[in-house]
């Protein structure tokens, strides 16, 4: 096990900068998830840690040692690739043994490690199969097994579940989380799926366009997003954003007026808001409810039935799209006019630049 640190890491391809001055510490045994939309640089960052991409500027440290110029093989990392990258003409056993044989591990130890990995991942019946005779989920388990047998300092996962179907993804998600608890190894996991990030991570790193937007525990990011991007990226369905204006501000007490003339008290950082400022109010769908006497008018576009709850997608009178989470077996009909109210709970306020100005303050550690 080892910790991983990035110090002012940047990456450029020619004149195109894809990673900008990223600094991050990943502790011993921590499970950190890099999440962000396609092209945000999360995989590039992971590959730089693995040693598969060169670092343009800055330092990568593993176990406290700078490894910029250390070959990938000597960094003590194991990686699980998105498309598994299993050696197609080798059996499962050979796939797992390959790395150990290459470093001259004695045969009994190779067998012992494979047996242990196969037991953890329930691969025993498939050890003599070729990858092409296996399902996607089994192949992914082999890929993980290949990483486990090497007993690496750091596990790197590059979108390992994105080629699997939804049900299998959920199952593998729990298996990887369980594996992390069992091995206690440092794991860095890349995904574009915020649900994976929320459910698996000790800490989430949200990236956009090569820049870290926010780092924190899943619930921290969910409850205290540092900006509009993080607020909109994490959580399903997405947070509602209502345009508004500050009507009064006194110390940390402010009042905001949004569509429909609704005025809401919001606690903000002292001095962060002044009367007349244009702001964005962020509300999770569970705070946005349909109420017969609610002040905000809208039209129901779609209702999704999820069993215990329903999601009503609406367009408000000023054209803003919004989602309300309902607990009503008889939700409003599609196409009907409805009234919405804002319930009690965390109200997020963002200034004109999209930075959170709400208390308690979110933000970079």
């Amino acid at each position: 096990m080892a910790d991983v640190a990035l110090r002012g890491v940047s990456k450029s391809y020619g004149t195109v900068d894809v990673i900008h001055d990223v600094s991050l510490d990943v502790g011993h045994g921590e499970f950190v998830v890099f999440v962000g939309p396609s092209g945000c640089g999360k995989s590039t960052l992971l590959r730089m840690i693995a040693g598969l991409e060169e670092v343009t500027r800055g330092d990568v440290l593993i176990g406290g040692a700078q490894v910029n110029d250390v070959a990938a093989r000597d960094r003590g990392v194991a990686m699980v690739f998105q498309n598994y990258a299993l050696y197609p003409h080798m059996s499962v056993r050979e796939n797992m043994a390959f790395g150990l044989r290459n470093i001259g591990t004695p045969r009994p130890e190779v067998d012992q490690r494979i047996a242990r990995a196969a037991e953890i991942l329930q691969l025993d019946p498939y050890l003599d199969r070729k990858p092409r005779a296996m399902s996607g989920g089994q192949r992914q388990r082999v890929a993980i097994g290949r990483a486990i047998v090497r007993e690496p300092e750091v596990f790197l996962f590059d979108e390992p579940l994105s080629n699997l179907d939804a049900a299998l993804r959920v199952q593998m998600r729990t298996e990887i989380a369980r594996l992390h608890h069992r091995l206690g190894a440092t794991m860095i996991y890349v995904t574009h799926d915020q649900t994976e990030a929320m459910t698996m991570a000790d800490r989430i790193v949200v990236l956009r366009a090569g820049v870290i937007e926010q780092v924190g525990a899943p619930l921290d990011l969910y409850e205290r997003p540092a900006n509009l991007f993080v607020a909109g990226f994490l959580g399903s369905p997405k947070m509602n954003f209502l345009q508004g204006r500050v009507t009064s501000a006194q110390g940390t007490e402010a009042e905001v007026e949004v569509a429909g003339g609704v005025r809401l008290p919001v606690r903000v950082r002292a001095g962060a808001a002044s009367p007349g400022d244009g702001v964005t109010l962020g509300l999770r769908p569970e705070l946005f409810t349909v109420a017969p006497d609610g002040p905000i008018l809208g039209r129901i576009e779609v209702v999704e039935q999820l069993g215990s709850t329903q999601l009503a997608y609406a367009t408000l009178a000023d054209g803003t799209p919004a989602v309300a989470e309902l607990r009503d077996r008889r939700p409003p009909a599609v196409g009907s006019e409805a009234r919405f109210a804002i319930g009690p709970g965390i109200r997020h306020l963002f200034d004109a630049q999209g930075h959170a100005i709400t208390l308690p303050e979110g933000g970079l550690p």
């Binding site: 990258a85 050696y87 290459n102 290949r146």
Partner: protein
């Protein structure tokens, strides 16, 4: 009264009757046939018909110029062939050429492909250069190499002289004539197999190499355990194409040595050509051609079988 059972049992040997074909299916079949027709016409006219015509001719005394000479000889041409020392010499020469050329061409084209695959301008330029020699005609290639190998004005002779050796007359030497044809052929033909290998190498997922790098695989291990197994289909294809192609060596042997010295580079196709168009014994030439076909077929099948067997194991 009981109704007679309406079940008709099919006798085992009766062929399964075809289900009545719907008009849509018939139309599809017709469309498919129309698309295939041009190819089938060419195939029948220029491959199947000449092949059987060749067999037919090989069973006759057949004069190219005189239509009146069409005497049925049965297998006489074949029994003559069996006893013909020149045929056996040509066969040995051809097999020797194939044995020299096919492995070296395959290895060389693979090495070149490995060297020039991947990004970068230098590699792209090299790829073009190596491919370029393939577009020359055999006349140009043999002319170039006849000059290169020439004892008095060649490219290699001065090297020998500088080292204090007597220059070798490559094309006139019984030992060196065939290897010289091989070198010429390698230079001329390496482009296509290299292109095939390049395509195959390009299709290997990059992640396999990255995984191997993380697995501490040496370059040698990567080549043997990742690259080579990944391109084995192309390897078999290249070997078969080379076997089929090199068995038919003709232009180089005719233009550079004309079968000499003392028949050491007389190959089967050259012998066929001389027999048919110099001696006008078309029936006998057809018999040699069929013997050559049998050899090529045998070796190609052997190669294919070995390739399959390797895959299964």
């Amino acid at each position: 009264m009981t109704a007679a059972p309406q079940v008709r049992t099919l006798p085992l040997a009766e062929p399964r009757t075809r289900a009545p074909r719907s008009p849509a299916r018939r139309r599809e079949g017709l469309t498919a046939f129309l698309f295939l027709a041009p190819f089938l016409a060419v195939y029948l006219l220029f491959l199947i018909y000449p092949f059987f015509k060749g067999i037919w001719i090989s069973l006759h005394d057949w004069d190219l110029m005189d239509d009146s000479i069409r005497e049925w000889w049965g297998f006489l041409n074949y029994s003559d062939l069996w006893a013909d020392p020149i045929f056996w010499q040509a066969t040995r020469n051809t097999l020797y050429f194939v044995a020299l050329t096919v492995p070296s061409m395959t290895v060389l084209s693979l090495l070149l492909a490995l060297a020039v695959s991947g990004g970068g301008r230098v590699r792209a330029v090299c790829r073009t250069i190596f491919l370029m020699s393939s577009v020359f005609s055999v006349t140009v290639v043999t002319l170039i190499w006849t000059m290169v190998l020439s004892t008095d004005r060649g490219l290699i002779a001065p090297v020998f002289q500088a080292l204090g050796f007597e220059p070798i007359n490559f094309l006139g030497s019984p030992t060196w004539a065939m290897p010289s044809l091989t070198v010429t052929t390698l230079w001329w033909g390496v482009g296509l197999p290299m292109a095939l290998f390049l395509a195959a190498l390009g299709a290997i997922p990059r992640e396999l190499y990255e995984a191997a790098e993380l697995d501490h695989a040496s370059r040698w291990t990567v080549f043997w355990r990742i690259t080579l197994p990944s391109i084995r289909h192309t390897l078999v294809l290249v070997l078969i194409l080379q076997i089929v192609g090199q068995f038919q060596i003709f232009g180089q042997a005719q233009l550079m040595t004309n079968g000499g010295p003392s028949g050491m580079t007389r190959t089967l196709v050259l012998y066929i050509y001389d027999t048919a168009f110099r001696d006008w014994l078309v029936g006998y030439a057809a018999a040699i051609a069929l013997a050559l076909f049998a050899m090529m077929f045998l070796f190609s099948m052997l190669q294919l079988w070995l390739g399959r067997r390797g895959e299964e194991s």
